[in-house]
Amino acid sequence: MSKFTKELVDDYAEKLLIGLSDEENNLVLSEFDIIDQNMDLINKIPNISEVEPMTHALDDFSFIPREDISKDSPSITELLQNCDCYEDREVKVPKVVGESDGA
């Protein structure tokens, strides 16, 4: 029996502020089982815990800090062109602090 449940899937979706239909939830469940089975195989690879995790595609990746040169930024007016709701130079959102919280 799968250790994954509908409730667990919904909980992880909620953490990402995403709502799932029952059909979407079921598809995640079936994929979880396959991934889990394969990861169990991986866990059986001898000395897997001693392998250095690979985080970049290139082994010789190196980061050299660039010169700190100031450049013009896009204007706020330009940046707000893709915002559905703004006032003057600011993004408009509902009150973050609720009525009952404002002691």
């Binding site: 899937v9 992880y12 979706a13 953490k15 990402l16 502020l17 995403i18 709502g19 799932l20 239909s21 059909e23 979407e24 598809l27 995640v28 079936s30 994929e31 979880f32 396959i34 991934i35 089975q37 394969n38 990861m39 195989l41 991986i42 866990n43 059986k44 690879i45 897997i48 815990s49 392998v51 250095e52 995790p53 690979m54 985080t55 970049h56 595609a57 290139l58 990746f61 980061f63 660039r66 896009p74 330009e78 940046l79 062109q81 893709n82 915002c83 559905d84 709701c85 993004v91 959102v93 509902p94 973050v96």
Partner: protein, 487 residues
């Protein structure tokens, strides 16, 4: 009229005044509208692109397509997602800027699986992308629109991105060339991120030489992308000679040998048989090819490693899609409700599934088992490849199990069957940042099929040269799909 011309041929026509850039661009725009009615290949068709002067540069005055996850200043750039359906960037991706410096003319933005996170071309917010060879078939994804457009002869090339196989599998299904160079050779600045440690930029063309010309123009160190590197000493186009007589390739027995598929379809049998015929062509050129065995458990882990890494990275990369400062504003009384409404309505079911998997994997209690172990297996697979690349110039394998599947019934799910390795092995190229190119190598059931060549990092010239030699022995270079009038 110029549907099957290479970049070199179009350039000759332009500099000899046999055609003007205006005519070429106008014709490509007209064809884009025609193709879009049948294939849904484009999100945006640019009706009045800036015409560039024709110079000695091979790309000058020639139209091309831009995948819609490349930012283009002042031009809609959606990532094929409803969450960015009206998004107009205020800057252009470096790779596109580089092409425009060469005089190239962008004429449309091509559809993709939402944010590049799919392999079918069916999750674009503008509709399912159809394969111009057969409209009932998929193009694969995510660079589906780019593949369809190049295959239909709209222009000689279009841009793609490749996180798992998103350039190289659509190329196979559409009978064209798909090339992803070494990680970081092309700047990713301005490209919508999917999984940063796996994301590559590249191109889709109808010939290997065209791919070399395009990537030569796209590449270069970019201060704005710290993973880019200086490739100024590499000239891919000039390094193509077709001389491969001293080359050594290998293929993986566990992927290619028919005995691994007890329930092999007739199509898969033909595909593998056709693969061996392509190897024979290379052998005629003096190439030595060995069959190598690799631990099947390691190979079987590839799809799950890919899902773990890509979903985890995507969950983090796309967390800025809230609909608050950009994107369509969701409904709700609080900011959280608005964001949830935006994300629930905006993302396709596939993306939501990927995000939930990523969220699970990144939970502190699960990280070691899933995320870190996936990174460890990635290391084992890449180390194995690098060990083999000490003795071999490249890995050569068939792409997928045959031609493009039907659109109906495609689900893009994680599967666990006999063919999952042959379907997903191109992800090895992303794990190691390896240069990798797919070229067409035949037809099965009237659908094109492809073969892939992958080599060691920074060895792009060698890989292209081998691909060019094989392409020269087959009749599929510059082939164009002809759409039936009644479809």
């Amino acid at each position: 009229m110029n549907t099957n011309k290479t970049i070199e041929e179009l350039h000759e026509m332009l500099i000899n005044n046999k055609i003007t850039s205006e005519d070429l661009v106008k014709d490509a725009i007209k064809k884009s509208y025609e193709l879009n009615k049948k294939c849904n290949a484009f999100v945006t068709i640019i009706d009045t692109p800036e015409i560039k002067e024709v110079t000695e540069d091979l790309l000058s005055g020639i139209p091309f397509g831009v995948k819609d996850n490349y930012s283009t200043k002042g031009i809609l750039s959606t990532g094929s997602s409803n969450t960015l359906k009206d998004y107009i960037p205020f800057f252009t991706a470096t790779a596109v800027v580089n092409l425009e410096k060469h005089g190239a003319v962008a004429i449309n933005k091509t559809a993709l699986d939402e944010f590049g996170m799919g392999g079918t071309g069916t999750t674009c917010h503008t509709g399912v992308v159809r394969n111009p060879w057969n409209l009932e078939k998929m193009c694969a994804g995510s660079s589906a629109g780019s593949a369809a457009a190049v295959a239909a002869g709209i222009y000689p090339y279009a841009l793609g991105t490749d996180t798992g196989d998103s350039i190289r599998k659509p190329a196979a299904y559409c009978g064209i060339v798909g090339y992803k160079p070494t990680y970081g050779m092309i700047s990713r600045y301005g490209i919508f991120p999917f999984a940063s440690s796996l994301d590559h930029a590249g191109c889709l063309t109808r010939s290997v030489k065209d791919a070399s010309i395009v990537v030569d123009a796209m590449k270069g160190y970019d201060l704005k992308d710290q993973t880019s590197w200086d490739s100024s000493s590499i000239n891919l186009y000039n390094s193509i000679t077709g001389e491969v007589s001293n080359k050594k390739l290998f293929y993986i027995k566990e992927i290619v040998d028919l005995e691994n598929y007890p329930n092999a379809s007739l199509e898969l049998k033909e595909h593998l048989n056709n693969f061996h015929k392509s190897l024979d062509l290379l052998k005629e050129c003096g190439v030595k090819i060995d069959a190598i065995s690799i631990d099947k458990n390691l190979l079987k882990a590839i799809p799950s490693v890919y899902v773990c890494l890509s979903c985890a990275e995507a969950t983090s990369n796309l967390s800025n899609l809230t609909g608050i400062s950009f994107g369509p504003r969701g409904n709700g009384k609080s900011v959280e409700e608005m964001m949830k409404d935006h994300r629930t309505k905006g993302f396709s079911p596939l993306i939501k599934r990927r995000f939930v998997i990523g969220s699970y994997i990144l939970q502190r209690e699960n990280q070691e088992k899933y995320f870190v172990n996936a990174q460890r297996v990635r290391r084992l697979i890449v180390d194995k490849m690098k060990e083999l690349f000490k003795n071999y110039d490249a890995l050569i394998l068939p792409v997928s199990t045959g031609g493009a599947p039907n659109i109906d019934g495609s689900k893009d799910e994680v599967t666990d069957n006999d063919t999952s390795i042959i379907e997903e092995h191109l992800q090895i190229g992303n794990f190691g940042g390896f240069p990798s190119i797919t070229i067409p190598n035949g037809f099965i059931n009237n659908l094109p099929v492809g073969i892939n060549i992958t080599g060691n990092c920074y060895d792009d010239s060698n890989i292209l040269n081998i691909a060019y030699a094989l392409e020269s022995k087959m009749p599929y270079k510059n082939q164009v799909a002809v759409l039936k009038e009644d479809e």
